[in-house]
Point group: D2
Chain length 339, copies 4
C-alpha cells in the first residue's frame, strides 16, 4: 500500500499514518519530497482497507498496490486453465465452445426440439433454465426439478452437455445428478454464501459478471469459488448496466481481452443478454470471438415468438445455424477453431 500525504500534512499526521500501517503489519518506507511525503507500505497483511487511510488527517490519497485476488490471477497459472468434461469436450483450449438453448425449459417437446437443433448446429452444451430468477414475482418461475430431468434426458439422447442456473444453496445437491456445469447468474455474482458452497463442489461452474460488477469484483468473486478448491471455473461477460437503454444491457466486449490478460480462467460471452435483440446477437457473437472469447452462451428457441421468457433475444433455429457457420470462418483469424 502507498499513502501520499498532502503538502500541508504535519509530522503528527504522518506519524499517525505510519503507526497504523505498522499496526496492520506493513514495513514502512518514507520518501520526503519538497512538496509532499510518500509512505510505502511493504508486506502483505491478511486484510486491510485502503479507504481507512484516505480519511486520516493530512492524507492526500492511498493506493492498494497488490491485487486483492491471488488464485484467480494469471500468474497463478500462466498457461491458462483448461476444463475437460466427461465426454471429452475441453473448455479453454484452442476450440471455441458453444452453449445454446432456450431461456427456460417449457416442455419435453420444446426442450427436445431445442436439443436437436443445437446439436445439429454444432454446439457442445445445451442451456435451459429450470429455476428462473425473475424481477417480478408474477413472471414464469421455471419448471423446477421436472425441468432438470428433461434437460438430462434430451442431452443424453443427443450427446450434449447440460448447463443450468443455480440460484441458491439448497439447489446444488438437487442439481448434481442432472447437470454438467453450474451457471451462476449475474444477480448472484455476489451471493457469497452460494459461491463458497460451489467452491466445495467438484463440478465446473460458469459464473456471469454481475450487471454492475467491476472486473476486480468479478475476480474477487471467482476467488471465493477457487479458494474452496474448485478450479474448474469459467467467467462470462453478459452486458453491464449503463445509461444507454436502446439495448437491454451494454455488452462490455473490452472485458474479454482484459480478463484474458488478468486471469487464467476461460472467458465466455453471452451476446443474447448482452444486447437483448435477436437480430443483433450474431454481430455481437462474432465480435466476442474476434476479441478473444473462449466460448459463447446463447439463447435459441424453436419458436421464439411464443417463448415463455426472453423470446425477444432468442435466435431462430436458422439464425443459430448461420451464425455458427460464420464463426467457423472467423475463428482461424484469431487462431482458434469451431467444431
Amino acid at each position: 500500500m502507498i499513502v501520499a500525504m498532502q503538502g500541508i500534512a504535519t509530522e503528527e499526521n504522518i506519524q499517525q499514518v505510519i503507526e497504523r500501517m505498522v499496526e496492520l503489519g506493513f514495513n514502512v518506507h518514507r520518501t520526503t519530497g519538497a512538496s509532499q511525503t510518500i509512505l510505502a507500505g511493504v508486506g502483505t497483511p491478511d486484510h486491510f482497507e485502503v479507504a481507512e487511510f484516505k480519511v486520516l488527517p493530512g492524507v492526500h490519497d492511498a493506493y492498494r498496490i497488490s491485487s486483492p485476488y491471488k488464485l484467480a490471477g494469471r500468474s497463478f497459472r500462466p498457461e491458462g486453465t483448461k476444463i475437460t468434461f466427461p465426454n471429452g469436450v475441453v473448455v479453454g483450449g484452442q476450440e471455441i465452445t458453444i452453449m445454446a438453448g432456450p431461456c427456460s425449459v417449457e416442455s419435453r417437446e420444446q426442450i427436445l426440439t431445442s436439443a436437436k437443433i443445437v446439436k445439429a448446429a454444432g454446439a457442445q452444451f445445451l442451456r435451459g433454465g429450470a429455476f428462473k430468477p425473475r424481477s417480478s414475482p408474477y413472471s414464469f418461475q421455471g419448471m423446477g426439478l421436472e425441468g432438470l430431468k428433461l434437460l438430462r434426458e434430451v442431452s443424453d439422447a443427443t450427446g450434449l452437455l447440460v448447463i443450468t442456473e443455480v440460484m441458491e444453496i439448497s439447489q446444488i445437491e438437487l442439481m448434481l445428478p442432472y447437470i454438467d456445469c453450474f451457471q451462476v447468474g449475474a444477480r448472484n455474482m455476489q451471493n457469497f454464501n452460494l459461491l463458497r458452497e460451489l467452491g466445495h463442489v467438484r463440478k465446473p461452474v460458469l459464473m456471469k459478471r454481475g450487471i454492475s460488477a467491476t472486473i476486480e469484483e468479478v475476480l474477487l468473486s471467482a476467488e471465493y469459488i477457487l479458494s474452496g478448491g474448485n478450479y474448474d471455473l469459467i467467467l462470462c461477460e453478459r452486458g453491464i448496466r449503463t445509461y444507454e437503454t436502446y439495448t437491454r444491457n451494454t455488452m462490455d466486449i473490452s472485458a474479454i481481452p482484459v480478463l484474458k490478460k488478468l486471469t487464467h480462467l476461460p472467458v465466455f460471452a453471452d451476446p443474447s443478454h448482452g444486447i437483448g435483440i435477436r437480430d443483433m446477437v450474431a454481430p455481437m457473437a462474432l465480435a466476442s470471438v474476434a476479441a478473444g472469447a473462449d466460448g459463447l452462451l446463447m439463447e435459441m428457441h424453436p419458436n421464439p415468438d411464443k417463448a415463455m421468457s426472453d423470446g425477444a433475444q432468442s435466435l431462430y433455429p436458422q439464425q443459430l445455424q448461420d451464425l455458427i457457420a460464420k464463426l467457423r470462418l472467423l475463428a482461424p483469424v484469431v487462431e482458434r477453431t469451431v467444431a
Copy 2:
C-alpha cells in the same frame, strides 16, 4: 400495453401483432393515423414481456402502461404504511427513526459501548453485522451466531431494537430469536429466493436498494416480500454505482421523493454507504431528511480508526450526537420530529 407500428408496417405486420396481443389476453383497439398505426391493448394478462413486441416486424416501439407491481404501489395503501415495533417505536409515522451502530459486531465490549452511545444520542435501533457479505473471501466475515447473541444482550440492556443483515435462507430461523428487523443488503436485493422466504416471516424487513437497481426493480423486489404476506417492509436508498469514483457510491437522494410518491412503504436512507466518507455523512443525512426520508441507517464506531470493517465511513461518537442534534432542528422544517 401499447404498440406503435412503423409508418412502413404492412397490414400483415399489424395483424401479427394483433394476433399475439389477443393470444396473451388483450382486447385490442386500433387507431389508424396518416403516418402510423397504434394498437392499444386493454386488459391485464397475468404475464407478458413488452420486449417480445419490440422485435416483431413493422413495430416502432412497445410500451407497458400499467405498473408491474401491485401491492407495493401507493394506491394499495394511500395513507402510507406504519410499522409498530414491540417496544412501541413506530416507523413510517411523524417521527424520524434513527438506526445506528458499527458495521460489524467485533466484541462484547465494542458492541456494548456502541449501544450506549447510540442510545444516548437518541437512536431507536442498534445496527451491527454478525454475518458480513465481503467482496473478498480474505476479509473479516463476521462473528456469526455469537454476534447475534451479543446484539440482543446489549440492546436489551439499553432499550434499543436490533437490526442486522440476513444473507441467506438458512440464517432466517437462526436470527429470529435475536433480532427485531431483518436487513436485506444491496447485493441481495434480487436474491428472489431469500425475498420470498422473508415474505413468509412475521417480522419487519428493511430492504436496501441494489447498487444498480432501478426504482422499478426496487418495487418489484418489494413485491416478492409483500406477496408472501409480510407487509412490514422498509425501503432504503444507499447509493448507486455511477462513473464518479470520488465517493464510494453516488447517493441518489432524488429516489427518496420518487419512492414516497410511488409506494406506501417507509423510505430510509443510509448516508454512510451512500458517500463512504465519514466527514460527509452528516450533510448527506441532513439532505436525506430534508428530501423526505422516514429514517436513517448509519454507521458509528466507538473507535473508527481501529474498526475491522468500514472504518472510513463510520462516525465518531461525538459526530453522531452532533448530527442528531441538528436533525432535531431540521425535522420541523419538513413537518417531522426527531426523538
Copy 3:
C-alpha cells in the same frame, strides 16, 4: 507520481520506468520490497500522462499523487471565494443566493411577470435563456439578442441581477452589456475554447457540471477559467447521467460537500434539471442547502403548462414562494441565512 512494479518485473523493466520518469523531470526514490518494487517520483513536471506508465512492461499500476489543478484547489484560497455583484449581492458568503426564472425568454410579458414573481419571492437573480442549446434542431432555439434586451429591461425594473447561458465565443461580446453573470451549460463544460475566453472576461461565470463529468474534470475546467485571470467563478451541480431513467438526471447531492472540501469556489445546485419533475424540485432544493450549497438555480414559469421549453420541471409561482419560505427556516440549521 508513484509507479508500483509487478512482482515479476525485471531489473530492465524497472530501469525503463526510472529513465522515463527522470526524462520527464522527476527525482526517483526506489523502495525494494520482498514482493515488489515501488518507484516514487518527486517533483512537479509541467505535464505528463500517468496512463503512459501503466502500459510499460512490468508495471502493476501508476498513480498521480498531486492534484492536476492548482488555482481551483481549496488550498489556493482556504477562506473561500466571495463574489460581490454591482448591487451589493454577495455570492459565497453566509447568505444563500437564489436564482430563478423561466427556461427560455418567450415574450416581454412572460419575462416581466416572471421577474416580478421571482423578486417578490425573495430571489436575487433572474435566469432566462436567450440562446438555447437543444438536442433537436427542430426545437425552439431562443429569442436571441431580443431576449437579452428583455432580460436587462425587466431586471432593471425589478432590481434583479441577470444570469443567462452563453453557448459560443461570439456571444460573449454580445452579452456583456446586458447581463451580470455568464452561465456555462452542462454541454459546454468541456468546450475549452469557450472557457479560455471566459477566463479573459471580467464578469462572473457560473459553470454547470457536465452530464458525465467527474469532480476532477469539473475542477480542471474551472482551472481553464481561473488561469485566464477570472476568479469570479461559481460551480453548479445539476445532475449526472446514470442508468436510472425515472428522473431526468441523477442529482449528485454528495458532490456538494465534496466540492466544498476540494475547492474555494462557491457551489450551487440546480434541482430543476437535477430531477426534472416539478413537484420534486422543492425536496431536492431543501436537500441541496442541507448538504451545504451556497445557492440555488431554479426554473419557475408564470404558466408552466404552456412553457415553450422545460415546462415539466418549472415551478408554479406559488411553489417557488413556498419553497423559499421553507428555505428561510432550514438555512439556520446549517448556519446560513436566506434573504
Copy 4:
C-alpha cells in the same frame, strides 16, 4: 404521442390532457378500458415535449411514438450513404476504411514518419490533431496552423487523405484548405452551434459519439449537420463512460449494429479511445469490424513511449501492420474487404 392515464384519473384530468394535445396540433383518439384510459395523439406537430405530459395530473406516463430525427433515419436513404473523396476513396461501401496516425502532430519528422507507416500498412487516411481539446489547461494544446500545414504536406507526399479535429467555429475556415474530413470530437457532439456551421460546409464530417450520449442523441446531433445540407457525415463509436475504470472508456460495440439499423450513415469505430490500452486495441478493432463497422479510426505513433499525448493507447508501427493484415482475413467473413 400516446398518453396513458392512471386508473384513478378523473374526467377533468382526461379533458385537460386532450385540450393540451389538441392545442399542440394533435388529433386525439381515446380508448376507454376497464382499468385506464389511453389517448393516442395522431399528427406531427412541429415541436412538443413529452415530459410536459408526464407531470399533468392523472397521467400514468406519456410516450413519443415517432423518431425525433428525420434526415438521419434509415428510411430517408434505405440504401445507405456512400461518401466519395477526391482521390476516389469511398466510405460506406464494401471496403472497410482505415484512418490512422498519431494523437497530435508533434513535428515534421514525426508526422512524415507516421504518414509513411500508415500508408505502407494500407490505410486511406492520416489522422493527427493540430488543435487539441485537453482536460487540463496545462497539457500540450497542439501545434495549430503549423500542424495543419504539415498534415497536408505529408499526406500529399504519401497519397493519404487528411482528417483532423475541429473544436470551434473559427477553425472551420482555417482548416478548409488543408484537410479532407472534419472530425468532431466526443466533447463537441452537443456543441450545436459548431454542428450547425458544419452543416453549411461542403466537406465530409466524422462525428464521434459523446462520452455519455445516447444513440438517439447521436442521431439528433447528426440531424443538425444534415439539416444544414451537408449529407457527407460519418458517425463514430469511441467508448462511453460507465462505472468500469480498468479501461479508459467502455467501448459500446453494440452501438455499431444498432446504428447500422437506425441510420443510413456510415458507422466507424475508434478502438484506441474505446479501450485506451495499446495491447488491446487490436482485439477491439477486430471486434468492431466483426460487428459491422464501416471503418476504423486508430492512433499509431512512430515512438509511442515518447508521444506528447495518448501514448498509452497508440499502436507501435508493427502492431498497426499486423492488425491490418488480420483485418484482411476477417473482412470477408462479414462480406467486406480491406484494401
